[in-house]
């Protein structure tokens, strides 16, 4: 008998007989009832508490906020997609700003060393955010592959102000994750960190040292 069949047989022929499956009540992980304002405040408080930076900007003018971030952090080479509106708008705004735009629609084998050593930052869109934990959620695509939010020392993520939900459970339910998952789905909550050396927090151990979230708002309110 194969290992598979032997294991399954043992599990099915259980000595103490079949088990009853308990009901699960998910009320405790949903229904927070937060207003848009509360969601935004909570998101910002939590993600900044783990060293994430939040920059608020207007959706029509967000690229000038991006340009400021690039300038203040001395970013000279920015990896970004091409097709997503975030990438497309960034590309046209940055055409004349002396920042080299690094194409990411290339198989990683062709430019692994370059991505690891010669890119200052990666720019990505996000699918949304989670207020309860201060998290971004990303479904990387061929246009914005998974490694550009991980390998460069700085990750700049663009989040719609209206794209926040209360909890992770709400995101999974409302966006139908059960109906089909992408190759890779990610929650990102701050820059890479470790406390493995005597509980002392250090950032950028393997992934980005810095995470900047550009929150795009439809009106000047915030």
């Amino acid at each position: 008998m194969s290992a598979r069949d032997a294991i399954l047989k043992r599990l099915r022929d259980r000595t103490d007989g079949p088990l009853a499956a308990p009901e699960c009540d998910f009320a405790v992980v949903t229904d927070r009832g937060w207003s848009a304002q509360e969601r935004l405040e909570r998101f910002e408080r939590l993600i900044t508490s783990v060293h994430g930076e939040v920059v608020h900007c207007h959706e029509n003018d967000w690229t000038s906020a991006l340009i400021e971030v690039l300038a203040s952090k001395g970013i000279k080479r920015l990896a970004l997609g091409r097709e997503h509106p975030v990438a497309a708008e960034a590309r046209s705004a940055l055409a004349e700003h002396g920042v080299a735009l690094v194409d990411v629609d290339r198989d990683i084998e062709q430019w692994r060393r370059e991505q690891f050593d010669d890119v200052d930052a990666g720019l990505t869109s996000t699918r949304g955010g989670i207020a309860e934990t201060g998290s971004l959620w990303l479904w990387p695509t061929p246009d914005e592959p998974r490694l550009i939010s991980l390998v460069p020392p700085i990750h700049i993520a663009v989040l719609e102000g209206s794209g926040l939900e209360d909890t992770f459970f709400d995101v999974v339910e409302r966006h139908g994750w059960a109906a089909g998952m992408p190759t890779n789905a990610l929650l990102i909550s701050g820059p890479s960190k470790t406390a493995d050396i005597e509980q002392t927090l250090a950032y950028g151990v393997h992934g980005p040292r810095e995470l900047v979230v550009l929150v795009r708002h439809t009106k000047e309110a915030i």
């Binding site: 194969s2 290992a3 294991i7 399954l8 043992r10 599990l11 099915r12 259980r14 000595t15 103490d16 088990l19 009853a20 499956a21 699960c24 009540d25 998910f26 405790v28 992980v29 939590l46 783990v50 290339r106 198989d107 990683i108 692994r112 060393r113 934990t133 201060g134 998290s135 061929p142 592959p145 998974r146 991980l150 909890t167 992770f168 459970f169 999974v172 339910e173 994750w177 059960a178 089909g180 992408p182 190759t183 890779n184 789905a185 990610l186 929650l187 909550s189 890479s192 960190k193 470790t194 493995d196 050396i197 005597e198 509980q199 002392t200 250090a202 950028g204 151990v205 393997h206 992934g207």
Partner: protein, 501 residues
């Protein structure tokens, strides 16, 4: 920060001679650890910090309701386990993830080695995986000429120091900054420093080279979702994402009990795991993998494999009480709150999983012959059961395993009865007879009172910290009798006296 990547040399770890601890030597190892003020200070500081952070991060939660949900989700998954494993396999295969099954650690090691050899792999980079520690994968690969390097910073440091992890979440918690600086200096040529940022940056540089060069990435799995064929990994460092995204092959290895039914089961368990483990609202990364790189995609592994390991779990599964052990989500909160673990540290247990969860899990994996002291390595204070995010009744299970060890349980744990001593059984039988035969008992206590000068003053471990018990000159029963005889003339109501005696 003075990180100097030039001063960093090529990785020097050539062999994996692991500093060995054995569960058979628990008492000696506990003694050694208690006499080591450094170990005690390191653990005390870390565990106090972790307990405080956990308390704070759950403060605005209805924790009891959340624990109830976590326990129910895990219990539901166990109730449907064989069906869910088949569903997981079918959905993973449909997603392009190849699924393999292993009866034990040995078979799992062989499977992984063969997958590596099929790719001509010489270099494996590892994300944190306790199952791979459990089956000694690194040593197995090393023996086959395949280099296996840990990439979680704590695991990396422990591997540099030729040790095993002392905590399932914080592998290097037994080391302090100075010790780590010394290890990195000796093994990788970094400068001696107390600058944690410098050491972290140096490790980043050393490991990035290895990620780029690795032929295979091996990771564990925190939750495997049956309904979508998705593997979930929880981490802060990003080494897990690197391990599962950079090398051309990703092999995930996990115990068969890690499966959950639905995607919606994941958020509550993740909420419990990150908060219970390190007191964080959320970890930096939650990485959900549902397949290898697709045709249009530009990164990610070409091959993804899932190795499902039994290694004793299906035997735990048979018993209605013991099965609760399998709900565990490996957060380590039971360790952080255990007064024994905090004092003796993780290595003392001599097992892959230390602390309370180790004491109820390892006897099944290794047999009670080798682990008979572990269920007794507890004061049964109950802290572990109280903090467990999936409500595993750890103290009850410790007691159950103590019973099994002395042959008073159901006898369905490997090595049951190993601690049974004929002398002890006879002594208790004798005591039982005496205590249920009043005249023999009274005669016995009277004789004991007369011979009290002859009772030994040393009684093995009992008298190391206590005085030896001595029978009273006159037994309580005799005293009461005498008292009643003396007070009879003053005429107290006899009935009351009777009910009192």
């Amino acid at each position: 920060m003075t990180a100097q990547s030039d001063s960093v040399q090529a990785h020097p770890v050539k062999n994996h001679t692991v500093q060995t601890y054995s569960p058979r030597e628990f008492h000696r190892q506990a003694h050694d650890a208690l006499e080591n003020p450094q170990i005690r200070a390191n653990f005390r500081k870390a565990m106090d910090g972790l307990m405080g952070k956990r308390r704070e991060v759950f403060s605005d939660w209805d924790l009891e309701t959340l624990r109830e949900l976590g326990a129910n989700i895990r219990q539901r998954a166990l109730a449907k386990l064989p069906d869910l494993l088949e569903q997981l396999e079918a959905n993973c295969e449909a997603n392009g993830i190849r699924v393999h099954w292993a009866e034990d650690g040995e078979q799992a090691c062989r499977l992984i080695r063969e997958l590596c050899e099929a790719r001509g792999a010489k270099s494996v980079i590892k994300g944190k995986s306790m199952v791979s520690e459990e089956m000694h994968l690194n040593e197995h690969l090393q023996a086959a000429g395949i280099d296996a390097l840990e990439s979680d910073l704590g695991e990396y440091l422990v591997q540099l120091n030729q040790q095993t992890p002392s905590h399932i979440i914080m592998p290097a918690i037994h080391l302090n900054t100075d010790e780590i600086s010394e290890i990195m200096h000796n093994k990788t040529g970094t400068e001696r420093t107390r600058d944690v940022d410098y050491m972290t940056a140096a490790a980043r540089q050393q490991l990035r080279e290895r990620f780029m060069a690795a032929d295979v990435g091996v990771s564990g799995v925190n939750f495997a979702v049956a309904e979508t064929g998705t593997l979930c990994l929880v981490e802060n460092e990003g080494n897990g994402r690197m391990t599962t995204s950079v090398p051309p092959v990703h092999i995930a290895v996990t115990g068969i009990e890690k499966v959950v039914e639905q995607v919606r089961d994941v958020p509550p368990l993740f909420a419990l795991l990150s908060r219970s483990a390190t007191g964080q609202h959320v970890t930096t990364y939650f990485n959900m993998i549902s397949g290898p790189r697709k045709t249009a995609e530009h990164d990610g592994p070409e091959e993804v494999h899932l190795v499902l390991v039994d290694n004793g779990r299906s035997s735990i599964y048979q018993d209605d009480e013991l099965i609760e052990t399998l709900r565990c989500i490996r957060c380590g909160a039971c360790m952080n709150h255990c007064p024994v673990y905090t004092r003796v540290g993780g290595h003392t247990y001599g097992t892959t999983y230390p602390g309370p969860i180790g004491s109820i899990l390892m006897p099944h994996l290794l047999g009670l012959e080798d682990t008979k002291d572990l269920p007794s390595a507890s004061s049964l204070c109950g802290a572990c059961g109280e903090v467990c995010p999936v409500k595993i009744p750890i103290p009850d299970l410790l007691v159950r395993l103590r019973r099994e060890a002395v042959g008073e349980g159901r006898g369905n744990v490997r090595g049951a009865g190993v601690k049974r001593s004929k002398k002890e059984v006879a002594a208790w039988k004798g005591f039982q007879w005496l205590a249920t035969h009043p005249s023999a008992w009274r005669g016995g206590t009277a004789v004991a009172g007369k011979l009290r000068a002859l009772t030994p003053s040393r009684l093995g471990p009992w008298t190391e910290y206590r005085t030896a018990p001595k029978p009273a000159k006159v037994s309580l029963h005799a005293l009461v009798k005498r008292h009643r005889a003396e007070s009879r003339p003053s005429d107290s109501p006899a009935g009351t006296e009777e009910t009192r005696s």
